[in-house]
Protein backbone atom coordinates (compact mmCIF):
# COMPACT_ATOMS: atom_id res chain seq x y z
CA UNK A 1 0.00 0.00 0.00
CA UNK A 2 1.33 3.37 -0.98
CA UNK A 3 1.10 6.44 1.19
CA UNK A 4 -0.37 8.21 -1.83
CA UNK A 5 -3.28 5.75 -2.04
CA UNK A 6 -3.99 5.99 1.66
CA UNK A 7 -4.08 9.76 1.48
CA UNK A 8 -6.39 9.56 -1.49
CA UNK A 9 -8.69 7.32 0.53
CA UNK A 10 -8.63 9.74 3.46
CA UNK A 11 -9.41 12.73 1.28
CA UNK A 12 -12.09 10.69 -0.48
CA UNK A 13 -13.90 9.79 2.73
CA UNK A 14 -13.33 13.00 4.67
CA UNK A 15 -16.30 15.13 5.45
CA UNK A 16 -14.35 18.37 5.42
CA UNK A 17 -11.05 19.80 4.19
CA UNK A 18 -8.16 18.33 6.20
CA UNK A 19 -5.01 20.20 7.18
CA UNK A 20 -1.69 18.34 6.93
CA UNK A 21 -1.60 18.14 10.69
CA UNK A 22 -4.88 16.27 10.78
CA UNK A 23 -3.88 13.87 8.02
CA UNK A 24 -0.73 13.19 9.99
CA UNK A 25 -2.80 12.50 13.10
CA UNK A 26 -5.02 10.08 11.19
CA UNK A 27 -1.97 8.21 9.93
CA UNK A 28 -0.58 8.09 13.44
CA UNK A 29 -3.45 6.23 15.04
CA UNK A 30 -4.93 3.50 12.87
CA UNK A 31 -7.50 1.18 14.34
CA UNK A 32 -5.93 -1.86 16.00
CA UNK A 33 -7.35 -4.04 13.21
CA UNK A 34 -4.74 -2.51 10.96
CA UNK A 35 -1.79 -3.31 13.15
CA UNK A 36 0.74 -4.44 10.65
CA UNK A 37 4.09 -3.34 9.27
CA UNK A 38 2.35 -1.10 6.80
CA UNK A 39 0.37 0.78 9.39
CA UNK A 40 3.46 1.13 11.53
CA UNK A 41 5.39 2.64 8.65
CA UNK A 42 2.69 5.23 8.03
CA UNK A 43 2.47 6.08 11.70
CA UNK A 44 5.65 8.07 11.45
CA UNK A 45 4.93 9.86 8.19
CA UNK A 46 6.09 13.44 8.30
CA UNK A 47 4.06 16.37 7.11
CA UNK A 48 6.56 16.90 4.33
CA UNK A 49 6.02 13.33 3.12
CA UNK A 50 2.27 13.78 3.21
CA UNK A 51 2.65 16.99 1.31
CA UNK A 52 4.75 15.25 -1.33
CA UNK A 53 2.23 12.45 -1.66
CA UNK A 54 -0.50 15.01 -2.23
CA UNK A 55 1.60 16.63 -4.92
CA UNK A 56 2.03 13.27 -6.62
CA UNK A 57 -1.72 12.68 -6.45
CA UNK A 58 -2.30 16.04 -8.07
CA UNK A 59 0.00 15.08 -10.92
CA UNK A 60 -1.82 11.74 -11.28
CA UNK A 61 -5.18 13.40 -11.48
CA UNK A 62 -4.03 15.81 -14.14
CA UNK A 63 -2.37 13.11 -16.20
CA UNK A 64 -5.31 10.74 -15.95
CA UNK A 65 -7.84 13.46 -16.61
CA UNK A 66 -9.77 12.66 -13.45
CA UNK A 67 -13.08 14.38 -12.81
CA UNK A 68 -11.89 15.82 -9.53
CA UNK A 69 -8.86 17.57 -8.17
CA UNK A 70 -7.23 18.37 -4.87
CA UNK A 71 -7.80 21.86 -3.62
CA UNK A 72 -6.03 23.53 -0.76
CA UNK A 73 -8.27 25.85 1.18
CA UNK A 74 -6.88 27.79 4.09
CA UNK A 75 -4.17 25.22 4.58
CA UNK A 76 -6.53 22.27 4.36
CA UNK A 77 -6.93 19.77 1.54
CA UNK A 78 -10.06 18.37 -0.02
CA UNK A 79 -11.26 16.81 -3.24
CA UNK A 80 -13.45 18.92 -5.46
CA UNK A 81 -14.99 18.19 -8.81
CA UNK A 82 -13.56 19.79 -11.93
CA UNK A 83 -15.35 22.98 -12.86
CA UNK A 84 -16.39 21.88 -16.34
CA UNK A 85 -18.90 19.47 -14.82
CA UNK A 86 -20.78 22.22 -13.06
CA UNK A 87 -23.70 22.34 -15.53
CA UNK A 88 -24.68 18.84 -14.41
CA UNK A 89 -23.50 18.81 -10.83
CA UNK A 90 -25.54 21.86 -9.95
CA UNK A 91 -28.58 19.62 -10.01
CA UNK A 92 -27.13 17.41 -7.35
CA UNK A 93 -26.40 20.39 -5.23
CA UNK A 94 -29.95 21.62 -5.42
CA UNK A 95 -31.10 18.24 -4.35
CA UNK A 96 -28.77 18.30 -1.41
CA UNK A 97 -30.20 21.54 -0.21
CA UNK A 98 -33.75 20.35 -0.48
CA UNK A 99 -33.79 18.81 2.98
CA UNK A 100 -36.23 20.53 5.19
CA UNK A 101 -35.81 22.22 8.50
CA UNK A 102 -38.78 22.16 10.79
CA UNK A 103 -40.02 25.44 12.18
CA UNK A 104 -38.81 24.58 15.69
CA UNK A 105 -35.42 23.83 14.17
CA UNK A 106 -35.40 27.15 12.37
CA UNK A 107 -36.30 29.04 15.52
CA UNK A 108 -33.66 27.25 17.51
CA UNK A 109 -31.13 28.03 14.82
CA UNK A 110 -32.10 31.69 14.92
CA UNK A 111 -31.68 31.82 18.69
CA UNK A 112 -28.26 30.25 18.45
CA UNK A 113 -27.25 32.52 15.57
CA UNK A 114 -28.15 35.70 17.40
CA UNK A 115 -27.17 34.63 20.88
CA UNK A 116 -24.13 32.46 20.50
CA UNK A 117 -22.45 31.10 22.45
CA UNK A 118 -25.47 29.82 24.29
CA UNK A 119 -26.24 26.83 26.45
CA UNK A 120 -28.98 24.36 25.71
CA UNK A 121 -30.72 25.35 28.94
CA UNK A 122 -30.88 28.95 27.78
CA UNK A 123 -32.25 27.96 24.40
CA UNK A 124 -34.89 25.91 26.14
CA UNK A 125 -35.58 28.82 28.45
CA UNK A 126 -36.36 31.01 25.46
CA UNK A 127 -38.33 28.45 23.53
CA UNK A 128 -40.11 27.04 26.55
CA UNK A 129 -39.70 23.48 25.35
CA UNK A 130 -36.98 20.86 25.26
CA UNK A 131 -34.87 21.10 22.14
CA UNK A 132 -33.07 17.76 22.14
CA UNK A 133 -34.36 16.45 18.85
CA UNK A 134 -34.04 19.78 17.14
CA UNK A 135 -30.49 20.31 18.40
CA UNK A 136 -29.62 16.87 17.14
CA UNK A 137 -30.84 17.80 13.67
CA UNK A 138 -28.90 21.05 13.65
CA UNK A 139 -25.75 19.37 14.88
CA UNK A 140 -26.09 16.58 12.36
CA UNK A 141 -26.54 19.01 9.55
CA UNK A 142 -23.46 20.82 10.65
CA UNK A 143 -25.25 24.11 11.11
CA UNK A 144 -24.37 24.42 14.78
CA UNK A 145 -21.54 23.05 16.83
CA UNK A 146 -20.25 22.92 20.36
CA UNK A 147 -17.99 25.91 20.92
CA UNK A 148 -16.96 25.43 24.51
CA UNK A 149 -18.28 25.24 28.01
CA UNK A 150 -19.90 27.95 30.08
CA UNK A 151 -18.01 28.88 33.24
CA UNK A 152 -21.00 28.26 35.45
CA UNK A 153 -21.81 25.37 37.76
CA UNK A 154 -22.04 22.15 35.81
CA UNK A 155 -20.04 23.72 32.97
CA UNK A 156 -22.74 23.15 30.37
CA UNK A 157 -21.82 23.04 26.69
CA UNK A 158 -22.03 26.21 24.66
CA UNK A 159 -23.37 26.13 21.14
CA UNK A 160 -22.66 28.36 18.20
CA UNK A 161 -23.12 28.40 14.47
CA UNK A 162 -20.61 26.87 12.07
CA UNK A 163 -18.81 27.88 8.94
CA UNK A 164 -21.39 25.83 7.05
CA UNK A 165 -24.04 28.00 8.56
CA UNK A 166 -22.32 31.10 7.21
CA UNK A 167 -21.85 29.49 3.83
CA UNK A 168 -25.42 28.37 3.69
CA UNK A 169 -26.78 31.81 4.37
CA UNK A 170 -24.13 33.53 2.31
CA UNK A 171 -22.65 35.45 5.22
CA UNK A 172 -19.00 36.22 5.61
CA UNK A 173 -19.35 36.51 9.35
CA UNK A 174 -22.03 36.46 11.97
CA UNK A 175 -22.15 40.23 12.23
CA UNK A 176 -23.70 40.33 8.79
CA UNK A 177 -26.95 38.94 10.15
CA UNK A 178 -29.66 41.54 9.78
CA UNK A 179 -30.12 43.75 12.81
CA UNK A 180 -27.59 41.71 14.69
CA UNK A 181 -26.42 44.45 17.02
CA UNK A 182 -29.89 45.44 18.03
CA UNK A 183 -31.19 41.97 18.44
CA UNK A 184 -28.30 40.84 20.49
CA UNK A 185 -29.19 43.47 23.00
CA UNK A 186 -32.83 42.56 23.29
CA UNK A 187 -33.67 41.08 26.61
CA UNK A 188 -34.84 37.54 26.19
CA UNK A 189 -36.80 36.72 29.25
CA UNK A 190 -34.57 33.94 30.31
CA UNK A 191 -35.65 32.41 33.55
CA UNK A 192 -32.19 32.35 35.07
CA UNK A 193 -29.77 34.42 33.16
CA UNK A 194 -29.80 38.15 32.82
CA UNK A 195 -29.50 40.05 29.61
CA UNK A 196 -26.05 40.55 28.21
CA UNK A 197 -24.52 43.66 29.62
CA UNK A 198 -22.05 44.31 26.86
CA UNK A 199 -23.70 46.01 23.93
CA UNK A 200 -20.30 46.81 22.49
CA UNK A 201 -19.49 43.24 21.56
CA UNK A 202 -20.58 42.53 18.05
CA UNK A 203 -18.47 39.40 17.72
CA UNK A 204 -20.35 36.54 19.17
CA UNK A 205 -17.61 34.20 20.13
CA UNK A 206 -15.73 36.41 22.50
CA UNK A 207 -16.92 37.88 25.72
CA UNK A 208 -20.50 36.84 25.38
CA UNK A 209 -21.79 36.63 28.89
CA UNK A 210 -25.33 35.87 27.88
CA UNK A 211 -24.99 32.50 29.43
CA UNK A 212 -23.53 33.58 32.71
CA UNK A 213 -26.17 33.90 35.36
CA UNK A 214 -24.68 36.74 37.27
CA UNK A 215 -26.03 37.00 40.77
CA UNK A 216 -29.38 35.54 39.99
Amino acid sequence: MELKSLIEAILFAAQKPLPLKEIKAILARPDESGNSEITRAFKKAKESEISEAIERLKVDYTQQGRSFQIQEVAGAFHLISQPQFAPWLKQLFEERRSGRLSLPALETLAIIAYRQPITRADIEGVRGVAVDGVMQTLLERGLVTITGRAEVPGRPMLYGTTKSFLEHFGLSNINELPAVEELRRVNLNLPESTAPATPETPTPTDAQPATTPEAS
Binding site: F12, A13, Q15, E94, R96, R97, S98, G99, R100, L101, S102, L103, A105, L106, E107, L109, A110, I111, A113, Y114, V126, R127, G128, T137, E140, R141, G142, H168, F169, G170, L171, E176, L177, P178, A179, E182, L183, R185, V186, N187, L188, N189
Partner: protein, 271 residues
Protein backbone atom coordinates in the same frame (compact mmCIF):
# COMPACT_ATOMS: atom_id res chain seq x y z
CA UNK B 1 -18.12 -24.04 34.39
CA UNK B 2 -19.71 -20.76 33.52
CA UNK B 3 -17.33 -20.32 30.61
CA UNK B 4 -18.45 -23.62 29.25
CA UNK B 5 -22.06 -22.55 29.46
CA UNK B 6 -21.45 -19.44 27.48
CA UNK B 7 -19.58 -21.47 24.94
CA UNK B 8 -22.35 -24.02 24.46
CA UNK B 9 -25.01 -21.39 24.19
CA UNK B 10 -23.06 -19.51 21.61
CA UNK B 11 -21.80 -22.44 19.64
CA UNK B 12 -25.06 -24.25 18.97
CA UNK B 13 -27.92 -22.18 17.81
CA UNK B 14 -30.24 -25.12 17.79
CA UNK B 15 -30.45 -28.88 17.41
CA UNK B 16 -29.73 -28.71 13.69
CA UNK B 17 -26.60 -26.77 14.36
CA UNK B 18 -25.46 -29.36 16.88
CA UNK B 19 -26.21 -32.17 14.44
CA UNK B 20 -24.25 -30.49 11.67
CA UNK B 21 -21.39 -30.06 14.07
CA UNK B 22 -21.44 -33.77 14.92
CA UNK B 23 -21.58 -34.75 11.26
CA UNK B 24 -18.63 -32.52 10.50
CA UNK B 25 -16.70 -33.74 13.52
CA UNK B 26 -17.19 -37.35 12.49
CA UNK B 27 -16.34 -36.54 8.90
CA UNK B 28 -19.30 -38.44 7.57
CA UNK B 29 -21.42 -37.87 4.51
CA UNK B 30 -24.51 -35.95 5.36
CA UNK B 31 -26.49 -38.27 3.06
CA UNK B 32 -25.33 -41.36 4.90
CA UNK B 33 -25.56 -40.40 8.50
CA UNK B 34 -24.42 -43.23 10.76
CA UNK B 35 -27.53 -42.78 12.84
CA UNK B 36 -26.47 -44.90 15.81
CA UNK B 37 -23.22 -43.12 16.32
CA UNK B 38 -24.61 -39.65 15.77
CA UNK B 39 -27.58 -40.32 18.02
CA UNK B 40 -25.45 -41.45 20.91
CA UNK B 41 -23.11 -38.49 20.54
CA UNK B 42 -26.08 -36.16 20.33
CA UNK B 43 -27.57 -37.60 23.49
CA UNK B 44 -24.24 -37.16 25.27
CA UNK B 45 -24.18 -33.51 24.33
CA UNK B 46 -27.78 -33.14 25.36
CA UNK B 47 -27.05 -34.58 28.79
CA UNK B 48 -24.09 -32.26 29.11
CA UNK B 49 -26.21 -29.30 28.17
CA UNK B 50 -28.86 -30.29 30.66
CA UNK B 51 -26.25 -30.30 33.36
CA UNK B 52 -25.06 -26.83 32.49
CA UNK B 53 -28.31 -25.27 31.38
CA UNK B 54 -31.10 -27.00 33.34
CA UNK B 55 -33.84 -25.54 31.15
CA UNK B 56 -32.28 -26.57 27.88
CA UNK B 57 -34.40 -25.51 24.93
CA UNK B 58 -37.21 -27.87 24.07
CA UNK B 59 -36.07 -28.13 20.48
CA UNK B 60 -32.94 -29.99 21.54
CA UNK B 61 -35.03 -32.53 23.42
CA UNK B 62 -37.43 -32.99 20.53
CA UNK B 63 -34.55 -33.61 18.15
CA UNK B 64 -33.16 -36.16 20.58
CA UNK B 65 -36.45 -37.99 20.49
CA UNK B 66 -36.55 -37.84 16.70
CA UNK B 67 -33.07 -39.33 16.46
CA UNK B 68 -34.02 -42.14 18.82
CA UNK B 69 -37.06 -42.86 16.71
CA UNK B 70 -35.06 -42.97 13.48
CA UNK B 71 -32.51 -45.18 15.10
CA UNK B 72 -35.20 -47.61 16.17
CA UNK B 73 -36.69 -47.65 12.67
CA UNK B 74 -33.26 -48.36 11.21
CA UNK B 75 -32.86 -51.30 13.53
CA UNK B 76 -35.90 -52.99 12.07
CA UNK B 77 -35.27 -55.79 9.61
CA UNK B 78 -35.14 -54.42 6.09
CA UNK B 79 -38.33 -56.07 4.88
CA UNK B 80 -40.27 -54.40 7.63
CA UNK B 81 -38.90 -50.99 6.81
CA UNK B 82 -40.61 -50.77 3.48
CA UNK B 83 -44.27 -50.47 4.12
CA UNK B 84 -45.20 -49.49 0.60
CA UNK B 85 -43.94 -51.90 -2.05
CA UNK B 86 -44.58 -49.32 -4.79
CA UNK B 87 -42.16 -46.82 -3.37
CA UNK B 88 -38.50 -46.67 -4.09
CA UNK B 89 -36.64 -48.17 -1.20
CA UNK B 90 -34.56 -45.07 -0.58
CA UNK B 91 -37.60 -42.91 -0.26
CA UNK B 92 -38.54 -44.91 2.74
CA UNK B 93 -35.22 -44.40 4.40
CA UNK B 94 -36.27 -43.20 7.85
CA UNK B 95 -33.38 -40.75 7.80
CA UNK B 96 -34.66 -38.97 4.75
CA UNK B 97 -36.68 -36.18 6.34
CA UNK B 98 -33.86 -35.36 8.67
CA UNK B 99 -31.29 -35.40 5.87
CA UNK B 100 -33.40 -33.12 3.74
CA UNK B 101 -33.79 -30.73 6.62
CA UNK B 102 -30.11 -30.80 7.46
CA UNK B 103 -29.01 -30.19 3.89
CA UNK B 104 -31.36 -27.29 3.64
CA UNK B 105 -30.25 -25.85 6.94
CA UNK B 106 -26.61 -26.24 5.98
CA UNK B 107 -27.17 -24.26 2.78
CA UNK B 108 -28.74 -21.44 4.71
CA UNK B 109 -25.98 -21.50 7.24
CA UNK B 110 -23.53 -20.99 4.40
CA UNK B 111 -25.71 -18.25 3.00
CA UNK B 112 -25.64 -16.60 6.42
CA UNK B 113 -21.87 -16.75 6.41
CA UNK B 114 -21.86 -15.08 3.03
CA UNK B 115 -24.09 -12.36 4.42
CA UNK B 116 -21.69 -11.95 7.31
CA UNK B 117 -18.81 -11.46 4.90
CA UNK B 118 -20.79 -8.83 3.09
CA UNK B 119 -21.65 -7.14 6.33
CA UNK B 120 -17.98 -6.97 7.28
CA UNK B 121 -17.14 -5.57 3.87
CA UNK B 122 -19.82 -2.92 4.10
CA UNK B 123 -18.54 -2.02 7.51
CA UNK B 124 -15.07 -1.36 6.21
CA UNK B 125 -15.97 0.80 3.25
CA UNK B 126 -16.95 4.42 3.33
CA UNK B 127 -19.09 6.09 0.79
CA UNK B 128 -18.65 9.67 -0.22
CA UNK B 129 -22.38 9.87 0.22
CA UNK B 130 -22.75 8.94 3.84
CA UNK B 131 -22.50 12.50 5.01
CA UNK B 132 -25.28 11.96 7.48
CA UNK B 133 -26.11 15.63 7.25
CA UNK B 134 -29.72 14.69 6.92
CA UNK B 135 -30.18 16.46 3.65
CA UNK B 136 -31.58 13.46 1.88
CA UNK B 137 -34.26 12.55 4.30
CA UNK B 138 -36.81 15.26 4.76
CA UNK B 139 -37.38 15.50 8.47
CA UNK B 140 -40.62 17.22 9.16
CA UNK B 141 -42.71 19.59 7.18
CA UNK B 142 -41.15 22.95 7.12
CA UNK B 143 -39.34 25.37 4.92
CA UNK B 144 -36.81 23.81 2.65
CA UNK B 145 -33.34 24.59 3.86
CA UNK B 146 -32.35 25.60 0.37
CA UNK B 147 -35.05 28.21 0.32
CA UNK B 148 -34.13 29.78 3.60
CA UNK B 149 -32.49 33.14 3.73
CA UNK B 150 -31.17 35.28 6.53
CA UNK B 151 -34.54 37.00 6.55
CA UNK B 152 -36.19 33.77 7.54
CA UNK B 153 -33.73 33.55 10.34
CA UNK B 154 -34.45 37.05 11.47
CA UNK B 155 -38.12 36.38 11.25
CA UNK B 156 -37.78 33.23 13.27
CA UNK B 157 -35.86 35.09 15.90
CA UNK B 158 -38.53 37.74 15.98
CA UNK B 159 -41.16 35.13 16.60
CA UNK B 160 -39.17 33.93 19.53
CA UNK B 161 -38.83 37.44 20.85
CA UNK B 162 -42.55 37.98 20.60
CA UNK B 163 -43.24 34.84 22.47
CA UNK B 164 -40.82 35.63 25.22
CA UNK B 165 -42.57 38.96 25.76
CA UNK B 166 -39.50 40.81 24.77
CA UNK B 167 -41.28 42.92 22.25
CA UNK B 168 -41.37 45.84 24.65
CA UNK B 169 -37.66 45.68 25.11
CA UNK B 170 -37.22 45.57 21.40
CA UNK B 171 -39.15 48.74 20.95
CA UNK B 172 -37.21 50.46 23.69
CA UNK B 173 -33.98 49.89 21.93
CA UNK B 174 -34.71 51.86 18.87
CA UNK B 175 -34.70 55.55 18.85
CA UNK B 176 -38.06 57.04 19.52
CA UNK B 177 -38.35 58.81 16.24
CA UNK B 178 -38.43 55.56 14.33
CA UNK B 179 -41.02 53.08 15.37
CA UNK B 180 -41.99 49.85 13.74
CA UNK B 181 -45.64 50.84 13.65
CA UNK B 182 -44.80 54.11 11.88
CA UNK B 183 -42.82 52.22 9.32
CA UNK B 184 -45.65 49.75 8.86
CA UNK B 185 -47.85 52.66 7.93
CA UNK B 186 -45.17 53.94 5.59
CA UNK B 187 -44.80 50.65 3.76
CA UNK B 188 -48.53 50.11 3.53
CA UNK B 189 -48.93 53.52 1.93
CA UNK B 190 -46.13 52.83 -0.50
CA UNK B 191 -47.52 49.49 -1.57
CA UNK B 192 -51.08 50.76 -1.70
CA UNK B 193 -50.12 52.75 -4.76
CA UNK B 194 -48.24 50.04 -6.58
CA UNK B 195 -48.88 46.38 -6.13
CA UNK B 196 -45.22 45.64 -6.66
CA UNK B 197 -42.38 47.67 -5.19
CA UNK B 198 -38.71 46.97 -5.28
CA UNK B 199 -37.11 46.08 -2.01
CA UNK B 200 -34.41 48.70 -2.31
CA UNK B 201 -36.94 51.45 -2.90
CA UNK B 202 -38.26 50.94 0.61
CA UNK B 203 -35.01 52.26 1.95
CA UNK B 204 -34.57 55.15 -0.43
CA UNK B 205 -33.29 58.21 1.34
CA UNK B 206 -32.69 56.49 4.63
CA UNK B 207 -29.39 57.44 6.14
CA UNK B 208 -29.76 56.08 9.62
CA UNK B 209 -28.96 52.46 10.18
CA UNK B 210 -31.59 52.34 12.87
CA UNK B 211 -34.20 53.60 10.48
CA UNK B 212 -33.29 50.93 7.95
CA UNK B 213 -33.56 48.25 10.59
CA UNK B 214 -36.86 49.50 11.88
CA UNK B 215 -38.17 49.60 8.33
CA UNK B 216 -36.93 46.14 7.77
CA UNK B 217 -38.59 44.87 10.92
CA UNK B 218 -41.81 46.54 9.80
CA UNK B 219 -41.53 44.75 6.48
CA UNK B 220 -41.08 41.45 8.23
CA UNK B 221 -44.06 42.16 10.38
CA UNK B 222 -46.21 42.82 7.32
CA UNK B 223 -44.99 39.64 5.72
CA UNK B 224 -45.85 37.79 8.86
CA UNK B 225 -49.31 39.29 8.80
CA UNK B 226 -49.60 38.20 5.18
CA UNK B 227 -50.05 41.69 3.93
CA UNK B 228 -46.96 41.50 1.79
CA UNK B 229 -44.72 38.89 0.36
CA UNK B 230 -41.31 39.00 -1.18
CA UNK B 231 -40.54 37.63 -4.58
CA UNK B 232 -37.46 37.31 -6.64
CA UNK B 233 -37.74 36.64 -10.33
CA UNK B 234 -34.21 35.41 -10.65
CA UNK B 235 -31.43 34.35 -8.34
CA UNK B 236 -29.48 37.32 -7.05
CA UNK B 237 -31.95 39.57 -8.84
CA UNK B 238 -33.80 42.45 -7.34
CA UNK B 239 -36.17 41.52 -4.55
CA UNK B 240 -39.70 42.76 -5.00
CA UNK B 241 -42.26 43.49 -2.36
CA UNK B 242 -45.66 42.37 -3.52
CA UNK B 243 -48.93 43.35 -1.91
CA UNK B 244 -50.97 40.29 -1.09
CA UNK B 245 -54.49 40.38 -2.45
CA UNK B 246 -57.07 40.15 0.24
CA UNK B 247 -58.55 36.81 -0.78
CA UNK B 248 -55.05 35.42 -0.86
CA UNK B 249 -54.28 36.83 2.53
CA UNK B 250 -57.39 35.29 3.97
CA UNK B 251 -56.44 31.85 2.84
CA UNK B 252 -54.56 30.13 5.61
CA UNK B 253 -51.11 28.76 5.00
CA UNK B 254 -50.77 30.48 1.69
CA UNK B 255 -47.22 30.09 0.60
CA UNK B 256 -45.07 31.56 -2.08
CA UNK B 257 -46.15 31.59 -5.66
CA UNK B 258 -44.11 30.04 -8.39
CA UNK B 259 -41.99 33.07 -8.95
CA UNK B 260 -39.41 32.34 -6.33
CA UNK B 261 -36.69 29.95 -7.11
CA UNK B 262 -35.02 27.68 -4.63
CA UNK B 263 -32.25 29.57 -3.00
CA UNK B 264 -33.81 32.92 -3.55
CA UNK B 265 -35.31 35.06 -0.90
CA UNK B 266 -38.65 33.70 0.04
CA UNK B 267 -41.32 34.90 2.32
CA UNK B 268 -41.95 33.42 5.69
CA UNK B 269 -43.52 30.06 5.77
CA UNK B 270 -44.65 30.25 9.31
CA UNK B 271 -48.30 29.55 9.94
Amino acid sequence: MSDYKVQLDEVFEGPMDLLLYLIKKNEVDIYRIPISKITSQYMEYLDLMKMIVPDVAGEFVVMGATLMYIKSRMLLPEDQQVADPEAVADEMDPRWDLIRQLVEYKKFKEAAEDLQQRELFQESVYSRQQQGLGFDTPTEDGPSLGDLSVFDLLNAFNRVLKRSDAADDLRDIFEDRFTVSDKIDFILKLTAVEERTSFSRLFDGMASKTEIIVTFLALLELIRLRQLRVAQSESFGEIDIVRVKQEEAAAPAQTEGGETEPGSTSGPTNP
